[in-house]
Symmetry: C2
Subunit: 232 residues, 2 copies
């Protein structure tokens, strides 16, 4: 592991509250590895052997069924994934693949469970992490069941604008076909949906989005912190 990486991991909420001893123990058993793009790190249905920490790069979480595939999320540095499967010693419900060259820290799930059993600060941090994740998925379900694809796109663009600090224009952080899958639609449908937002002041040039007047778009999107909120 690079000298700067261990402190970064330590500073994650998930690892902040545990004892120095137990953190060291986790780190001693950790593997660090770099992967090229398009590598399948985890396969849906396989047992979960490692808690994954993305320290650099980008990982896509995908789910499949009967030849169909959908993007469940994108993981960026520095954060973890498949925590639930790791602590429950269960099979993975999603596959994970690198989107670009990616550096991972892999904590053996068996170590994670062992430390989880003895370190109370860690087990409480896991609760927080899971509670936030759970509420995130509930929000996502509401988004899918209550909104049309156009409305989902409109709200996605508004939330991205916020993430970009409210700047009038910003770049899409992923390929459009991936965004389409994340939003639960086809690439063709996304392409048309983007056009359909033009009357609401959305201008698109390649990956660059410009929202002329947010309140215009909000009239359609009707964002709410009960769906579009971030952990609050």
């Amino acid at each position: 592991m690079r000298p700067e990486e261990q402190p970064v991991i330590r500073s994650l909420p998930l690892f902040q509250q545990m004892t120095e001893d137990n953190f060291d123990r986790l780190m001693r058993g950790a593997y660090v590895q770099s992967f090229p793009p398009q590598v399948e790190l985890i396969t849906e249905g396989d047992p979960c052997d490692f808690l994954h920490i993305v320290v650099d790069g980008e990982v896509e979480l995908v789910a499949t069924w009967c030849g169909r595939e959908t993007t469940m999320g994108i993981v960026r540095p520095v954060s973890t994934f498949i925590l639930a499967a790791a602590v429950k010693d269960a099979v993975c419900l999603m596959s994970a693949r690198t989107l670009e060259k990616t550096r991972l820290v892999l904590l053996p799930a068996i170590d994670v469970r062992e430390v989880f059993e003895i370190d109370n600060g860690f087990s409480r941090a896991v609760v927080t992490e899971l509670a936030v994740a759970y509420r995130g998925v509930i929000r996502n379900t509401k988004n899918l069941k209550l909104r049309s694809s156009l409305e989902r796109l409109a709200n996605y663009l508004l939330s991205q604008k916020n993430l970009a600090g409210g700047a009038k224009s910003f770049e899409l952080v992923m390929e459009k076909r991936r965004l389409a899958s994340l939003l639960g639609m086809t690439p063709e449908n996304l392409s048309r949906a983007i056009k359909a937002l033009r009357p609401y002041g959305v201008k698109v040039d390649g990956n660059c989005i410009e929202i002329v007047d947010s309140s215009d778009l909000e009239r359609l999107a009707k964002p709410t912190h009960l769906i579009d909120g971030n952990g609050i």
Copy 2:
């Protein structure tokens, strides 16, 4: 609280691992209350003041947006709901309403958080509860994004058949319009979908469902433990 109720609650996985002292403490602060049908117990967006335990009756979890409404789940005895909001001291992302006369035990969320901070057995039990809940919602998301409404219905019927012990015929455990909402479709669409399953050996008479040959229906439904599993 009735004499038989406290032991039942104690035997829930969530409360099994905590100390007797802390359990007593939670129970001393508990309210027990009965509600008639169609009472709104929790309103989406409100702060979460109590961890709810259904000891008798039936509660529906619903989410709304812009006048639209969808059923997110049904809670039956004996189990809890809004655990995540209670431990995080956050607003509720779903509303809850009684479907029939319902008896609830209400644990003040502030007590739950207090005990959570001091009782390590409890905090670990919360992890298990949340991890299972999280994985359940992930499964649900896959169900929604990867399957058509007909496929969701087919899989629902197969899982209900299993819950009924594999009996050839069984009763629907909820009104059809509620089932429709749970599956993410309209009542009209459900009605037609049921008919569309007739070629696959599904016979319906009111609330009674008969599946002539499961393997017939499975050819369409293609159930998998990665979507239709129960906590495994």
